[in-house]
Amino acid sequence: MSSGPHRPKLKPLGQPRAITVRTNENGAPVHVRLPGKTARRVDTVRERWRIDDEWWRETISREYWAVVLDDGRMLTLYRDLSDGAWYAQRE
């Protein structure tokens, strides 16, 4: 039997998903819309931290936000500081 289509052997887990975020004047997220879902208001910001890493190759610079949405759901999201795009990520 011929070999099947080539498939990657290693699949990363916890890949970030692009999301749409509206921020306030301080850059904090106020509304979050996950792909295919309705926008939710950010009720509380639980935590905020920054990661700057891998400067020796392609610099990773992210500002993370752990938030609680108005429906009670907890979400970790980050803003890629290199291009300003927002992502949700399962930790």
């Binding site: 052997k9 990363p12 887990l13 916890g14 970030p16 009720d43 509380t44 639980r46 891998e54 009670g72």
Partner: protein, 477 residues
């Protein structure tokens, strides 16, 4: 209902997990919803019965009746030895070999300063006339079985929650038994058939929508005075309850109290996101319980008939090696019973009748379903090493208590070498792929053209970048 109050003075109400306190000023009427100043359940131990159920169509009974016999085990001992009723008695905690502690205490012992959780030496120094009793789990379990059997005649929807506490689903029984007070009365009368009057008289009964409401009602009830909460009064009733009735982590309750939130009524004033932000999932659950939004129905309880095997020694045995050998034989015997019908085993229990009375038990829940003798016996041997029988064993008892899917399927993951011998303790990552699994992957590859199985591997588990920590590796042995 007749209530022999003279007997009630001597029955114990104190046990290790601090369930409820009684209060004076009893009335003889049926209590429809409770007054806020009655005794309450305390501690998160109540949570054992209220694990959040996964969302699924309700198949249980919304109207729940909780029957609760505090210090059930000690009461059974006093029923068995009535002479002890007028003395200070304490039941030793099961499963400890060196530093024995007190589990349950009688009223007299409590008055003398003996408390659950104390070391035996402390208890004896406080009360020199204290009678210490070894626990007899086999006797208690037999009493629970009898109780469930009798209550099954009343309603088919029955859900036990530990010894001495049972939930009855009462939906649709009104036309059969009458009003809720009559239904409670009927349930208590059923208990009179198997338990002596003092034991039944000490039973607390609470009826409400959902198990949580019924349990809180039972904890608030006084002996002989059931608390019945109608649907429309559930929220106000819960609103008066202290936060320590919530089946959440003790730390959450402590923090709520520190924040000045003492009752469920005060708790419901807070918006859900704020509670989630503060307490996580527990905050959400607490609000759902408090507002009556989460009503957990009583679900019919199904217990598979256990497969039992026992071995009576000609002379009592204390030697561990002999007991291990006997355990192996019993496991083999139980596994070979036709009643197993090829099912795998997920839970087992080892017990013993001890020399000079009393019994002993250890239980194990297996990490994965199996029908291998060694995998069943091994955790029981480990438990026996931690908590050995306190006395020589007259009869060794073994039970397969929980069952999984037929064992032929799980054999796929048995780690055996080519000769069929166990090679347990090794990870698949070490290259020791069981032949059965290798064959299964081969078959899947033939069908699909590739192996659809993956294994989670650590790439850089301490990385600050989440997607660098773990990955799925194609499993293709």
């Amino acid at each position: 209902m007749s209530t022999p109050r003279s007997r009630l003075q001597s029955v114990p109400t104190h046990q290790g997990r601090g369930w409820a306190s009684t209060s004076s000023g009893a009335s003889d009427e049926w209590l429809i919803t409770s007054a806020p100043d009655v005794g309450w359940a305390s501690g998160p131990g109540a949570g054992t019965a209220f694990l959040p159920a996964p969302p699924r169509p309700s198949t249980g009974s919304r109207q729940a009746l909780c029957l609760w016999l505090p210090t059930f085990e000690l009461r059974l001992e006093l029923v068995r030895s009535p002479g002890l009723d007028s003395t200070s008695v304490a039941l030793l905690s099961p499963g400890e070999s060196t530093r024995r502690t007190i589990w349950q205490v009688s009223e007299r012992a409590y008055d003398a300063g003996v408390r659950p959780g104390q070391l035996v030496s402390q208890a004896v120094s406080l009360c020199t006339s204290l009678t210490l009793l070894e626990p007899d789990p086999a006797h208690y379990d037999a009493a629970v079985d009898t109780m469930l059997e009798v209550l099954t005649e009343l309603t088919p929807v029955l859900e036990p929650a530990g010894r001495g506490r049972v939930f009855l689903g009462m939906d649709g029984l009104g036309r059969l038994y009458g009003s809720p007070p009559r239904q409670v009365d009927r349930a208590l009368r059923a208990l009179f058939r198997i338990f002596p009057a003092p034991l039944v008289a000490a039973t607390r009964a609470g009826m409400a929508p959902g198990k949580f409401g019924a349990w809180v009602a039972a904890a608030a009830a006084r002996t002989g005075e059931p608390v019945i909460v109608p649907e429309e009064r559930l929220v106000p009733f819960l609103g008066r309850c202290p936060v320590n009735v919530l089946p959440v982590e003790a730390l959450v309750v402590e923090r709520l109290e520190r924040l000045g939130i003492h009752t469920l009524g005060e708790l419901v004033r807070f918006p859900e996101p704020s509670l989630v932000a503060q307490f996580g999932e527990d905050g959400r659950s607490a609000l759902a319980w408090s507002t009556g939004r989460r009503v957990d129905p009583v679900r019919p309880w199904h217990r598979p008939r256990p497969i039992r095997a026992s071995l009576k020694f000609s002379t009592p045995v204390g030697l561990v090696e002999t007991l291990h050998g006997a355990l192996d034989r019993l496991v083999e015997r139980a596994l070979s019973r036709p009643a197993r019908r090829g099912r795998s085993v997920t839970g087992a229990r080892l017990g013993a009748h001890l020399e000079g009375g009393g019994s002993w038990f250890v239980e194990t829940v297996l990490r994965e379903p199996t029908a291998s003798r060694e995998r069943i016996a091994s955790p029981l041997r480990a438990k026996m090493a931690i908590s050995p029988p306190p006395k020589a064993v007259e009869t060794l008892l073994f039970e397969l208590t929980h069952f999984g899917a037929p064992s032929a399927q799980t054999g796929l993951f048995d780690r055996k070498d080519e000769s069929g011998r166990e090679s347990g303790g090794h990870e698949l990552a070490q290259g020791e792929v069981p032949p059965s699994l290798r064959d299964a992957v081969k078959e899947l590859k033939l069908r699909l053209g590739h192996s659809p199985l993956y294994r989670v591997v650590e790439v850089d588990p301490w990385s600050r970048i989440p997607e660098r920590r773990h990955a799925l590796l194609c499993f293709d042995p």
